[in-house]
């Protein structure tokens, strides 16, 4: 026991360093994984000397250059947490070394821990900004260099030179974009950007899992609905959670919505085949990303234009992606003229979902857009489900019956809605119900529902009844 204690005392510095590294790594790898992934999606690093020369100049060029270079690796599993942990540990080490020249070991360690915690927390409330962590590390190295100068005569001049060099390379040490002075992790925000990341990666099971806790939020509910739709379960699962009207089905793109919402809005429209709205969403997101670039959005723009047959535009975006480390292969594989048969078929299938006849609309005209998608491609089942669910969540049973009658899709909420409509029109007979594909079991369940509605919270009857109650109370 004594020797163990001695070992700990002897290696306390190394243990502190390892602990600092592992803590940060564990946090970003397991508790906060999506913050760094999102950084990667919003950045773009091109391996092109000319681009590098034109992009990284002026004050702060080095911190911008190195952070963009490092952030591209955040796409790889564990690379982001590893890099950030390394930087944070480095900051703690340098602070310790500076302090230890003048203060006791314990005081130096305390200050180092404080600096580590401060740097750690500073950006966690928002999206983690590697650039500023790099700038802090850079300035600390400069400070270390200044305190290491032994020649007193030259010290003022060399110090000034080093500070000027620091400002040139890392930017001003006081900058309004350095994030808050102190913030704390926001785990619900982390889950939301996680949802966004998983939606764009089309990992629908993960989307469903991540959305569980936040289904009361419009964005989470929207992602849940999209994931269920992609898995072919929209009609069966729509009322498994409380829906806030039809607004959780498709988000509109608008100046009064957040960038996050406008970015997310493009995802469902993209899957439904509405490429103009998907393209606008990607351009708006590109506008809002730190350097007005962002690999995720450029990839989306490339896909949208490949599907739309706008090959010149697609080629522009693909040319950019061929100069990246991690999107190069994909870009080459989908480049017009170089696609495999399989890839070509995939894009062709996606283009089949696009509208064929033109009309001008605002993105909030959900019903009209969906109808056009269906008119152009009657086999667009996803659009049909979205249309029917839109009718139901808007309590518009007349429209629902009209839309449903032409192409009867399976789904218990559809059957439940039909029974309401039939009863509203005094046509509730077994024969009529059967005509609309309603089975006996559902009809029997409706009778049980009226006896004890709270036992059936996931039915359309319950959703509709609550709306009537609210209307009555008002």
């Amino acid at each position: 026991m004594k020797s163990f204690k001695q070992t700990i005392v002897r290696h306390k510095k190394s243990i502190a360093v390892a602990a600092a590294f592992l803590f940060a790594y564990g946090f970003f790898q397991f508790a906060y994984p999506y913050h760094l992934i999102r950084r990667e999606q919003m950045a773009l690093f091109l391996f092109d000397w000319d681009y590098i020369g034109q992009t990284y100049h002026g004050t702060g060029w080095m911190s911008r250059f190195v952070s963009d270079f490092l952030e591209q690796f955040f796409l790889l599993p564990a690379a982001g947490p590893f890099t950030i942990s390394l930087l944070l540990t480095l900051i703690a080490l340098v602070v310790y070394r500076i302090c230890n020249r003048h203060l006791s070991q314990a005081a130096s360690l305390s200050i180092a821990i404080f600096s580590y915690v401060w740097c750690f927390l500073r950006e966690t409330g928002n999206l983690y900004t590697t650039r500023y962590t790099l700038a802090v590390a850079g300035y600390l190295f400069i400070f270390l260099a200044i305190t290491s100068i032994k020649n007193k005569k030259n010290k003022p001049i060399v110090s000034i030179l080093l500070i000027v060099l620091g400002i040139w390379a890392f930017g001003s040490p006081v900058h309004k974009h350095y994030g808050r002075l102190l913030s704390i992790p926001r785990f619900n925000y982390e889950r939301l950007i996680g949802l966004d990341s998983e939606v764009t990666r089309e990992r629908w099971d993960k989307v469903l899992k991540l959305s569980e806790k936040d289904l009361y939020m419009t964005e989470a509910s929207y992602c849940y609905n999209l994931a269920q739709a992609m898995k072919g379960n929209l009609s069966e699962s729509l009322l498994n959670h409380s829906q806030n009207g039809a607004s959780t089905l498709l988000l509109r793109i608008s100046t009064d919505r957040s960038v996050f919402s406008n970015t997310l809005a493009g995802e469902a429209w993209f899957q439904l085949g509405c490429m103009t709205i998907a393209e606008q969403s990607a351009i708006i997101s590109l506008q809002a990303s730190p350097n007005h670039t962002g690999a995720r959005y450029i990839k989306r723009l490339a896909r949208v234009n490949l599907i739309s047959g706008e090959y010149s535009a697609a080629q522009k975006y693909l040319n950019l992606l061929t100069k990246t480390l991690f999107y190069r292969k994909w870009a080459q594989s989908v480049m017009p003229g170089h696609q495999s048969e399989h890839t070509r078929m995939q894009f062709m299938e996606a283009s089949m979902r696009m509208a064929k006849t033109d009309f001008v609309h605002h993105s909030n005209e959900t019903r009209a857009i969906l109808l056009e998608q269906i008119r152009s491609n009657p086999q667009n089942i996803m659009a049909r489900h979205y249309l029917l669910c839109h009718d139901l969540l808007s309590y518009d049973l007349e429209q629902f019956i009209e839309d449903y009658s032409g192409y009867m899709l399976k789904g218990h909420i559809y059957q439940e809605a039909i029974l309401i409509w039939l009863s509203q029109h005094n046509q509730l007979t077994q024969q009529n119900a059967a005509r609309y594909g309603v089975d006996n079991a559902t009809a029997n369940m409706m009778q049980r529902f009226f006896r004890n509605p709270d036992k059936y919270p996931h039915t359309y009857w319950y959703y509709y009844m609550r709306a009537l109650e609210e209307e009555y109370n008002q």
Binding site: L46, F47, D48, W49, D50, Y51, I52, G53, Q54, F69, T255, N262, C274, M275, T276, I277, E279, Q280, I283, I284, L286, Q287, A288, H292, T293, V304, I307, S308, G309, E310, S312, A313, Q315, K316, N319, L320, T322, K323, L325, R328, Q332, M354, A355, K356, T357, D358, F359, V360, H361, H362, S363, I369, E372, Q373
Partner: protein, 490 residues
């Protein structure tokens, strides 16, 4: 191994990786390259250029191209540039151009493409007409409904010098609208800063003022317009502008006015002159501009429609009305320069040439926002003979809009989305005395790869004879300055 050594090895590895990656990854091809055995981008083959333009840098935009040699010859002088990126120094180019005006520069090129020796040759003609040296534009992503970090830039097109006139950093990330010169004068121009601290920034004789060009009863603040040659008046449209989408992908966006009128601002008396005949409820009036002598106003007008449902039925005529430069009144009688019903199209963005001879405008199938209309074409009206011609010879495969004249009326610039269809770029074109245009060429950039990685549109390029001298500091001061109110003229 010491820590220092490890650090050095790591740093070296990163630099080597970056270098190798940069060298190996250039496999991209051009979106809109030239014709011929050797494809170059930008396409500067067989173009007519002014002698005072910046070097025409280009690259061989082909996969697996090496060992390129390009030789330029004029008046017995030759310059050979080796490499696939043909990029000049300003001095080298200016020396070649010194006595080239009125002559043809012949270019001979050879390169190894895919292991084969390929040769090519082409010419370009150096006009004796020079072009105005300054070009202003707004750099913006092509979303046209939201903005973030927008800037207005003045570029000296004789070299690559860019001066930011106004940007988001100095205006609290406000939106801003494009800078326009009057009569290509550097000391008579205007731009807008939008938002609560915004206003129209008028540059008259080099003195800046921030103006609120809006009074009760107007639809909105002023939007499109031009300053009278005297500098006293400005003619503007007021528009309720709504962005919308097409369902068919390639058509992208449509922006339309749900209402629009014309108005005149009197900058001397801080008055807005609103007259009923140019603010009719049953008409959409927009895109006004002055004739070269300031005696007329040209503008576009259409019957109101239910929009956006009937967007394809909205067709703007191009009219001319007299302008009284004593009181700022637009006359009630009009001439039709271009009739939309007869010609089955819609006119927008008219601009009169400084010599008074021509009126250039854009024609699209319908509407008032031709930026994504691939059919949009520049038209030229001869104001002496009354004839109108479509400039089909210079039509790109995407939209051509927003033109501006050089002060000698021999050159014009326009924004074209040719190629990628998404990002507008300034193209220059020479026009001879008979109104014949030459093949347009894109604004030269220091880097021949610039347009490949540029993700912003050059919005509303506008030529100026001299620099405006405006800076972001001026914009900042104006942003902080209270705006001068205007009142309704009696």
């Amino acid at each position: 191994m010491t820590q220092n050594t490890t650090f050095r090895i790591l740093a070296a590895a990163i630099v080597v990786t970056a270098f190798l990656s940069c060298s190996q990854m250039d496999i991209s091809t051009a979106v809109d390259g030239s014709k011929g055995p050797l494809v170059i981008y930008p396409d500067y083959k067989e173009v007519t250029i002014p002698a005072n333009i910046a070097p025409l840098n280009f690259r061989y935009a082909m996969a697996d191209v090496h060992n390129a040699r390009t030789t330029f010859t004029v008046s017995g002088k030759s310059v050979c540039i080796k490499g696939t990126e043909v990029e000049w120094t300003i001095k080298q180019w200016k020396t070649l151009m010194a006595n080239a005006a009125g002559q043809t520069v012949s270019v001979k090129a050879q390169a190894v493409v895919g292991g084969q020796n390929i040769t090519d040759s082409w010419d370009f003609y150096v006009s004796t007409d020079s072009i105005d040296a300054y070009l202003t534009y707004r750099l913006i992503e092509p979303s046209y409904q939201m903005f973030n970090e927008v800037s207005l830039v003045e570029r000296c097109i004789e070299n690559y010098k860019e001066t930011v006139i106004c940007d988001y950093r100095h205006t609290d990330n406000s939106c801003m609208n494009c800078h326009i010169h009057s009569q290509q004068r550097g000391d008579l121009s205007m731009y807008y800063i939008r938002g609560p601290h915004g206003g129209a920034i008028l540059n008259r004789d080099g003195r800046l003022r921030k103006l609120t060009l809006n009074v009760k009863g107007m639809l909105s603040g002023t939007v499109y317009g031009e300053i009278h040659p005297s500098g006293r008046f400005g003619v503007f449209s007021t528009n309720i502008i709504l962005p919308s989408f097409h369902t068919v992908a390639g058509k992208r966006m449509e922006v339309y006015d749900s209402a629009s009128d014309l108005t005149v601002a009197d900058f001397d008396n801080n008055e807005m002159i609103n007259l009923p005949h140019i603010a009719r409820d049953d008409k959409f009036e927009t895109f006004p501009c002055f004739s070269a002598d300031g005696n007329y106003v040209f503008y576009c007008v259409a019957d109101t429609q239910t929009l956006p449902q009937n967007i394809e039925q909205i067709h703007y005529d191009l009219l001319r009305a007299g302008f009284d430069s004593q009181n700022g009144h637009i006359g009630t009688s009009t001439d039709t320069i271009w009739n939309s019903r007869k010609n089955n199209g819609s006119a927008c963005h008219p601009k009169a040439s400084p010599d008074g001879r021509w009126l250039m405008f854009t024609i699209a199938d319908y509407g008032t926002f031709p930026l994504f209309h691939t059919e949009s074409t520049l038209y030229l009206a001869d104001l002496i003979t009354g004839s109108v011609q479509a400039l089909d010879a210079i039509k790109g495969n995407k939209s051509d809009t927003y033109h501006s004249w050089s002060s000698n009326s021999r050159w014009f610039v326009f924004a074209s989305k040719r190629g990628d269809g998404q990002y507008g770029k300034p193209y220059f074109c020479h026009l001879d005395e008979q109104g014949n245009p030459t093949k347009p060429f894109v604004l030269p950039q220091r880097s021949s790869r610039f347009y490949g990685y540029n993700l912003k549109s050059f919005n509303v390029p506008d030529l100026g004879r001299e620099s405006t001298g405006l800076t972001v500091r001026d914009a900042y001061i104006m942003f902080k300055t209270p705006s001068e109110p205007f009142k309704q003229a009696e």
